[in-house]
């Protein structure tokens, strides 16, 4: 009896304000509070509230046969509580249905996995604690920022005691294998759930693309594509940004109607059901180990980490922020630690990407700035101020 597994990522960064060189030493408010509040409220209205409402209705209507899983970053939860508390309430209501699983990640949606393993572990522990406190669950499954994964990361997460990890079903990694089975991390028992990127992206990216041969995508058609996999797989993993519903794909595209009708149409085939990640690994055996010969993510055409570390600016900014670790910790100040961590959020580096063609369009869509160079300039000016005004020894600190 095969399953469909839905997993949605919910994340909002603390965006930096345009921070010019002339502000260095004068201005220690780095984040664009107005913009961040605005974005969160806008996305709440367009996506989080209506989508949560739909999910809740679907769960109730199907008596819990419809199930979903989420990862909501710590920084997103902080901002929801501050700017749109109703959103948090509705996630809690979803948690209370028992049909919703919460997956863990880093609290700050950071790239610590690639730079600082101690920091990485702390951010994971923070997020696990947050999920326990807000939703009363202890996550068994982990997803790394933007599905960044390699064997070393997989093994590190396995050693922390998680039961499964979510990753991208990249073609060159799967090779002859299908994404529609459960695998194991190389050298560990921890399970891997691989995203079926074709079917996931049909919804997340192509749903409203009128140039697409399959446009318009109906729930009926999509359910048919899922059913075509009967007998050829255990699980279809549909992993995407939650903002797909109402934000990336506007309400006018019919995305909510699609969502509304999909479960019933999936259930028209008697063999198919819907499961959460933990249920999937409890039910289906792992076919074998899935080694990753490179670092994979779910971003850009390349499905690698070039979206955050593809150019010299991004590398400089990342090296800069992570090299501050020891100095920040020595200060032993919780506000400073939180500030440093907010500056680690991967989005800052994503905005600095200098990609071409369709990748650039996606980066531009998310970026609050006029382009990668401005993003880098603002970030580096903030780093400069942080160094000069906060971290420098008191006698050398700039005071104005």
């Amino acid at each position: 009896m095969p399953s469909v597994c839905f997993y949605f990522e919910v994340h909002q960064p603390y965006r930096l304000k345009p921070y010019g060189a002339l502000q260095v030493g004068r201005d220690h408010e780095y984040f664009d509070e107005k913009l961040n509040a605005e974005v969160l409220r806008k996305v709440a209205d367009k996506c989080y509230l209506p989508a949560n409402h739909s999910m809740l209705r679907l769960i109730e209507r199907t008596d819990g046969r419809f199930r979903v899983s989420y990862s909501i970053t710590g920084v997103a939860i902080e901002q929801m509580k501050k700017y749109a508390p109703k959103v948090m309430d509705s996630f809690v209501r979803l948690a209370d249905t028992g049909a919703v699983e919460f997956v863990a990640e880093t609290y700050y949606h950071s790239l610590a996995a690639l730079y600082d393993k101690d920091e990485y572990k702390e951010q994971i522990d923070m997020q696990v604690g947050l999920v326990q406190k807000e939703f009363g669950q202890t996550p068994r499954v982990f997803r790394n920022t933007e599905l960044i994964y390699n064997d070393e990361i997989g093994q590190f997460i396995a050693d922390l005691g998680f039961d499964a990890m979510i990753c991208e079903g990249a073609d060159d990694i799967l090779d002859w294998r299908s994404p529609n089975f459960v695998y194991k991390v190389a050298g560990r028992e921890m399970r891997l759930l691989t995203k079926n990127y074709k079917l996931s992206d049909d919804i997340a990216f192509r749903f409203s693309n009128q140039a697409w041969a399959e446009y318009p995508l109906t729930a009926d058609k999509f359910a048919g594509w899922v059913h075509d996999h009967s007998g050829a797989g255990d699980v279809i993993n549909l992993f995407m940004d939650y903002e797909t519903f109402g934000e990336h794909q506007w309400k006018e595209t019919g995305i909510f109607e699609f969502l509304e009708h999909l479960p019933d149409l999936l259930f028209t085939h008697p063999h198919w059901d819907i499961q959460t990640p933990s249920q999937v690994i409890d039910r289906y055996p792992a076919l074998g180990e899935l080694p990753f010969h490179r670092t994979v993510s779910w971003a850009d055409e390349a499905r690698d980490i070039s979206a955050w570390r593809g150019n010299a600016m991004q590398q400089r900014a990342l090296n800069e922020i992570y090299s501050l670790g020891p100095a920040i910790r020595r200060r032993n100040n919780s506000h400073l630690l939180a500030l440093w961590r907010r500056l680690q959020t991967s989005d800052h580096f994503y905005y600095m990407a200098t990609k071409s063609a369709s990748d650039a369009e996606v980066h531009d869509y998310f970026s609050p700035y006029e382009g990668p160079y401005d993003a880098f300039i603002h970030y580096m000016n903030v780093m400069k101020d942080l160094n000069l005004s906060v971290l420098a020894p008191p006698e050398k600190r700039i005071r104005i």
Partner: protein, 494 residues
């Protein structure tokens, strides 16, 4: 398809000017099988244009008086200039300048050497006197300039002054001599240029009489009267191509007669081509031409212009920030100076070079002095040839803070020397560049921040340079021709 193209100079005399654009565009169009008759005011026998049929309007006209006059006494500065650059002898712009100077000498006005190379070359692109007035009498402030370019401060221009005698030539069928009445104020250079425009319209019309063309394509206002007349007589659709507007050059000090000629061309055109969306909007705002009537075709760069950068050892100690262009209101030199003052607080050893001349130069020198940053500034005047190459090669960043720039090819040149560039958002070129920093010309804080960042962050500099190197390869005239051909087809069919 056979077209008639009307230009003002060929081959290019001013790098990045109209001649360059015409050369690039016609070459690419010829590759696409468009047959081109290209008409310029006068041929000199040295032109090399195997891709098209080059015609000189003057050859068919009774030779105008000015060209045949016995050599007159040449004012001394011109003679010196000619000795330094003998090739100028055949430069029509130089000749026009000499004539203007002679005329002025007659009327008793002294002509400075400085004004020869600037307004003489650039009268079609620049109305010096109006700037001078603006700048010296009104003391332009950033807010004034902003206001000046804001839509609401552009009340409709008074209708074109009922086409004065200057333009009557276009309506005199078969007249043998140019009918140009000089204005009461005497034969100053402006009238001389209008005379040239009129003469060109006359002789061009005669030169192509009886020829069949699918369309007539006229570049900038100097050729519009000719275009209107020829298209009318040949019953062919007219395309007018706007490389810059009088408003770009002069703001509210625009020469009304030039504006009215622009409007004449725009109104008679079947279709208008603008070199940028920025210019398209400005045409619409200034002339009320419907946006639907205006297509945008961005300029390109020639592969041979984007030469391999050659790097020279820098001689000065600090990092170099370069402004290169006319020092006029349009080019925003004041914002460059204001940004420099702010940069120096962060990068005290930076050196700022303002290369070029223009009516705002004295004021800029005074401003630099007032701000107490004279030591960090260099004013080398006009650069040419190897000096330009050296300036680009030794600069750490090139800044184009233009107040209004229809396109602006200089940043592309700087990029071809592997220099990072900052361009104002009030420029057409900013529409086609991803790998340049962009800033509103009046936002001197941000401009300063961008300069500081480029000077301080090698990763920023290198990424800009690497990506730009790739990018400028795609900004070529073939892409422009590719957009232009469908426009041609649409007007020919219609």
């Amino acid at each position: 398809m056979k077209i008639l193209m009307l230009g003002w100079e060929y081959p290019p005399h001013i790098s990045g000017g109209l001649g360059t654009a015409c050369e690039g565009l016609t070459t690419a169009l010829a590759h696409r099988g468009i047959e081109i008759d290209f008409l310029v005011p006068k041929l000199y026998g040295e032109e090399d244009a195997p891709h098209m049929h080059l015609l000189g309007a003057a050859s068919a006209a009774p030779t105008p008086e000015v060209w045949t006059d016995a050599p007159r006494q040449m004012p001394e500065p011109f003679a010196a200039l000619l000795a330094a650059e003998p090739t100028l002898a055949t430069d029509p712009i130089f000749i026009a300048a000499v004539e203007a100077a002679q005329a002025e000498a007659v009327s008793g006005t002294a002509t400075e050497l400085r004004t020869i190379r600037v307004p003489a070359m650039l009268k079609p692109y620049l109305d010096e006197a109006t700037y001078q007035e603006l700048v010296t009498t009104q003391k332009l402030l950033p807010t004034d300039v902003e206001r000046m370019f804001a839509p609401e401060s552009h009340p409709d221009l008074p209708g074109p002054p009922a086409l004065t005698t200057r333009l009557e030539y276009a309506h005199v069928p078969g007249g043998d001599a140019p009918i140009v009445e000089e204005s009461a104020s005497g034969a100053h250079y402006g009238d001389n240029l209008f005379a040239e425009v009129a003469r060109y319209a006359m002789s061009a019309t005669r030169r192509v009489a009886g020829e069949k063309y699918d369309l007539v394509h006229a570049h900038d206002w100097m050729t519009f009267p000719a275009g209107v007349e020829i298209a009318h007589r040949a019953g062919a659709p007219l395309l007018v191509h706007v490389h810059s507007l009088e408003y770009d050059r002069a703001g509210q000090g625009a020469d009304r007669d030039i504006v009215s000629i622009e409007r004449l061309g725009l109104e008679h055109a079947t279709r208008v081509i603008a070199v940028s969306y920025y210019t398209r909007k400005l045409i619409n705002r200034v002339h009320g031409t419907s946006l639907d009537k205006i297509s945008v075709v961005h300029n390109g760069v020639y592969a041979r212009e984007t030469v391999q950068a050659y790097k020279q050892q820098r001689k000065s100690t600090g990092p170099v920030v370069l402004f290169l262009g006319r020092v006029t209101f349009q080019k925003g030199p004041e914002y460059f100076v204001q940004a420099a003052a702010r940069v120096l607080e962060h990068v005290p050893d930076a050196v700022f070079i303002m290369a070029g001349a223009g009516d705002m130069l004295p004021r800029m020198e005074a401003l630099v002095k007032d701000l107490g940053i004279t030591k960090s500034f260099r004013f080398p005047g006009w650069l040419r040839g190897a000096e330009i190459e050296r300036a680009f090669s030794t600069a750490d960043v090139y800044v184009m803070p233009s107040v209004s720039e229809p396109f602006g090819i200089a940043p592309l040149e700087a990029m071809s020397y592997d220099r990072p560039v900052i361009v104002s958002k009030q420029s057409g070129v900013s529409e086609v560049l991803r790998n340049a920093l962009k800033v509103d010309f009046w936002d001197v804080d941000k401009m300063a921040s961008q300069i500081v960042a480029i000077l301080e962050l090698p990763e920023l500099r290198n990424t800009l340079i690497e990506r730009a190197r790739e990018e400028i390869r795609h900004i070529h005239w073939d892409a422009a021709a590719e957009k232009l051909v469908p426009v041609y087809k649409s007007v020919v069919r219609g």
